[in-house]
Point group: C2
Chain length 400, copies 2
C-alpha cells in the first residue's frame, strides 16, 4: 500500500532511501529493475502515475509506464501500461523529459495546464486527450551517474495528499528523489554490467564456434539441430532451466578440439588407420584443453561436454573409458543427440536413415553405447525433436 | 576531518549513508573500494582504527588495516598498515571477526579487557602487546548480502567522543553501520562483477589463442615477444595506457585466421603458388570475421589488428591495399613488431639476423612497408625491445 506522504518524516524517508538503494542494487533483471525503480519512486512521492525513460545517448526510450488511475486491475502487477507503443523522444527542449535529460536538471511543475509562456521546454498533453487522464502536477528527475552522464529520466505525475487529492510535489521531496535517481542510475549501470558479463561468456563460445566451422564446414545445420536436441532431452530429464540453456549454448563446441586435428586425418575420405584414429580421438582432450579451467559455469560445462561426448555407457568409449554414471550426464546427453542427428542426416558416406531405423539402431546400442535413461527421455520428447529436425532441414535426399 | 559523533544527528547520518552508498557503488577498483569502505565506516563512527576482512567461504582475509593512532603520516593516505602481513582467520568462534562472519551477527564490545568469561567467542589481544596500541571498544558488523551470504566483516576499534576520549560505540550507531555494511557488500559484489567481465573478455582472447596455437605450433616465444614489442612501441608513441594493455592482449591473435587456412598451404615447405598465396592472404579477413562485431573494446581492437597487420604504408599490402594513415595505427604497430621479431629470430627457412641487420632491413622498408613514425618509436625504445628479446629467448643458433 502507498503510505501517504504527510505521515512520513524525513528520518523515515532517509531510512527508506537507504533500503531502496540496497534493494535496487540487488535486482538481477533489467526489466524488473526499471519497474521497481519507478514503483519505489512513485511510492516514495505518493505519485498516481509515472514513466521511466532510458537514454541511448540521443533519444529517450519509454521503458516503463505505470498509472494507478487508468488501471483497476490487481495492484500487484503495478498497473503497467505497455511502454512499447510510445515512440522515443529526442533529447531536446521539445518535451519535458527531453529537457530534463539534456540539461541534467530537476523539473517540478505545479500545474501542467498553467505553464508560463516563457518556459524553456515544450509540454505535450496529447496523452490526456487520448486517455481522458488529467495531468496536474509533474516531477521529473534525471538518473545521473556520478560521472555526469544522464542514463535516463524518472517522470512522476499527480502527487496525492492524505485525503487522496491531487497536489503539487513538495520541493524538499525533489532533492530526495534525486538521491533515489542516483541510486537507480548505479543499479541500471550494474544491470548493464551483468548483461555484458553474460554476453562476454557467450561470446567466447560463439567465436570459438565460428573458428571451428572453418575446419569442419560440412556440418550444415548439424550444430543447430544437435544443440536443440540436447536441450530438449535435458529438459525432459528435469534438469534446471539454466543448465538446459547452457547445454544449448555449450554443446555446439563438443568438437572444437578438431581445430587441432590435421587436415590429412580430418578430411581423409576413406577409413582411418589405427594410428590416424588415435590422433582423431585426441579432439576430445584438445577441446577440453582449449576450454579448460574457466570460472564461467557455461565454459566449464562446454569443457565437460568436449571431454566426455565420446565416452560410452559400458566403458568402451574414449578418451578415459569412463563407465555409466562416471560419465558426466551432459556428456551422455550430447552423445545421444549427436549420434541421433548423424544417423538421421545425410553424410558424405551415407544417406539419411528413416526415424524408425534411427531409433532401432539407438535402442540396440542402449546400455552399451547410450545411457538407458537418456534414451527413455529422447523417446518421450521425440515429437519435439522431429519438429526441430523439420525446422533445420537441408537437402538430405530420400531417407533409406 | 572526522566529524565528532555528538554533533551529527540521525538525519545527517542517514543522508550521509545515502551518499556513501552511491559513492561506494561507483568505485571501480576493488582495493580502492575496500579502502574507502573502511575509511567511511571509521568516519561514520569516529573510530580510531579498523580492519576490513573479506571471506572466501572458509577463511577471513585481512584486506585493509587502518590505524590513526599508530601512524602520524599524512592523513590523506588514510593511515594504512600493510594487511598482507596478517595470516587469514578461520571462520569460527576462535576470533571475534570469525565469530561475526560465522554467525552473521553484530558484536559491540565496550571494553576489550573486561570480557565476560561466558562470552561465546575468543578475543585475541596479542596485537596490543606487539604494537603498544591499547584496544578498548570494538564494533564488528558483517557485510551481508541480501541473499544472506556474508562477504566480509568490518571491525572498528576505539570510538572517540568530541573531546577525543576513547568511549564505547553507541548502540544505535551499530544498526546504521549494518546498513552501511550492506551497501558495502553490494559494492564489493559489483566490483567482483566488473573484474569478472574483464576476465571474460580476456578469456575469449586467450582461448582463441590456445586454439590457434594448435595450427601454428612453430612460433615458440614469437607471440610472447611480438605482443610485448607492440606494447612498448605503442607506449613510446604516447598511446593511452589502457590501449597499450589492450594491444598487448589482442596482438597475439593477429594470425588467428590461420585456423581457416588449409594445412596443405599453412605447412607447405616450399614457395606458395600464386593461387595458394591468395588463399594464405585470406587469414586476415578470416581472423577479422572470427573476431567481428564485438561490443568489447578489446575484441574490436583484436579485429582491427587481424584485418590490417599485412597492409603496407605505400598501399601495396593486403587485404584492402590501404595506404598511410588509412591503415589503423595498431595495424601499423603490430606489422613492425611482427616483422622485427621474424627477422631477429630463427625460422625454419632462415637463421636469426643480427640486430644491426634487422634494423638495416627495416629502415630500408620504412615509408614503403612501414610507417616512419612507428619505426622512429621502435628505434627510441630499442633497448627495451632487446630486454624483452633476452627474456623470451629460444635456441636461435648464432645470428648471421
Amino acid at each position: 500500500m502507498n503510505k501517504p506522504m504527510a505521515s512520513m518524516d524525513l528520518e523515515d524517508q532517509l531510512r527508506q532511501l537507504v533500503n531502496i538503494g540496497i534493494a535496487l542494487s540487488d535486482e538481477q533483471n533489467l526489466a524488473d529493475l526499471l519497474d521497481c525503480i519507478l514503483y519505489e519512486s512513485r511510492r516514495f512521492t505518493n505519485a498516481t502515475a509515472g514513466t521511466l525513460y532510458l537514454s541511448d545517448g540521443e533519444m529517450l526510450h519509454f521503458e516503463v509506464v505505470q498509472n494507478d488511475a487508468l488501471d483497476t486491475a490487481d495492484s500487484t502487477v503495478r498497473n503497467h501500461l505497455d511502454a512499447s507503443g510510445f515512440a522515443p523522444l529526442p533529447i531536446n527542449d521539445n518535451s519535458i523529459a527531453g529537457y530534463v535529460a539534456g540539461r541534467g536538471t530537476v523539473l517540478n511543475i505545479r500545474n501542467a495546464y498553467n505553464i508560463s509562456e516563457d518556459a524553456p521546454y515544450n509540454l505535450n498533453l496529447s496523452y490526456d486527450q487520448e486517455t481522458g487522464f488529467r495531468t496536474q502536477s509533474l516531477l521529473l528527475v534525471p538518473m545521473r551517474h556520478l560521472d555526469g552522464r544522464v542514463l535516463g529520466v524518472i517522470q512522476l505525475i499527480n502527487a496525492r495528499n492524505q485525503d487522496g487529492e491531487t497536489v503539487a510535489f513538495a520541493e524538499d521531496i525533489a532533492e530526495l528523489l534525486l538521491a533515489l535517481a542516483s541510486q537507480a542510475a548505479v543499479a541500471v549501470r550494474n544491470a548493464h554490467l551483468r548483461r555484458d558479463l553474460e554476453q562476454a561468456q557467450l561470446e567466447t563460445i560463439m567465436r570459438l564456434g565460428v573458428a571451428a566451422e572453418y575446419r569442419d564446414k560440412e556440418t550444415g545445420n548439424h550444430l543447430n539441430r544437435m544443440s536443440r536436441y540436447s536441450r530438449e532431452i535435458a529438459k525432459e530429464m528435469g534438469l534446471d532451466e539454466q543448465v538446459c540453456e547452457h547445454i544449448f549454448y555449450a554443446s555446439p563446441l563438443h568438437d572444437v578440439g578438431k581445430l587441432g586435428t590435421p587436415d590429412a586425418i580430418l578430411l581423409k575420405p576413406g577409413k582411418l588407420t589405427a594410428d590416424e584414429y588415435e590422433i582423431m580421438k585426441q579432439h576430445t582432450t584438445i577441446g577440453a584443453r582449449i576450454l579448460s579451467g574457466s570460472s564461467s559455469p557455461l565454459l566449464r560445462l562446454a569443457e565437460r561436454i568436449a571431454i566426455s561426448h565420446h565416452e560410452k555407457w559400458n566403458g568402451s568409449g574414449y578418451p578415459a573409458g569412463l563407465k555409466g554414471e562416471e560419465i558426466p550426464l551432459v556428456g551422455r546427453i550430447v552423445a545421444a543427440a549427436d549420434v541421433f542427428d548423424a544417423l538421421a542426416s545425410k553424410r558424405v558416406y551415407k544417406a539419411a536413415f528413416s526415424i524408425e531405423k534411427v531409433l532401432e539402431i539407438m535402442h540396440n546400442d542402449t546400455g552399451s553405447h547410450f545411457d538407458p535413461q537418456v534414451i527413455e527421455a529422447l523417446d518421450r520428447c521425440l515429437p519435439r525433436l522431429l519438429d526441430i529436425k523439420a525446422r533445420f532441414t537441408e537437402d538430405d535426399g530420400e531417407p533409406l
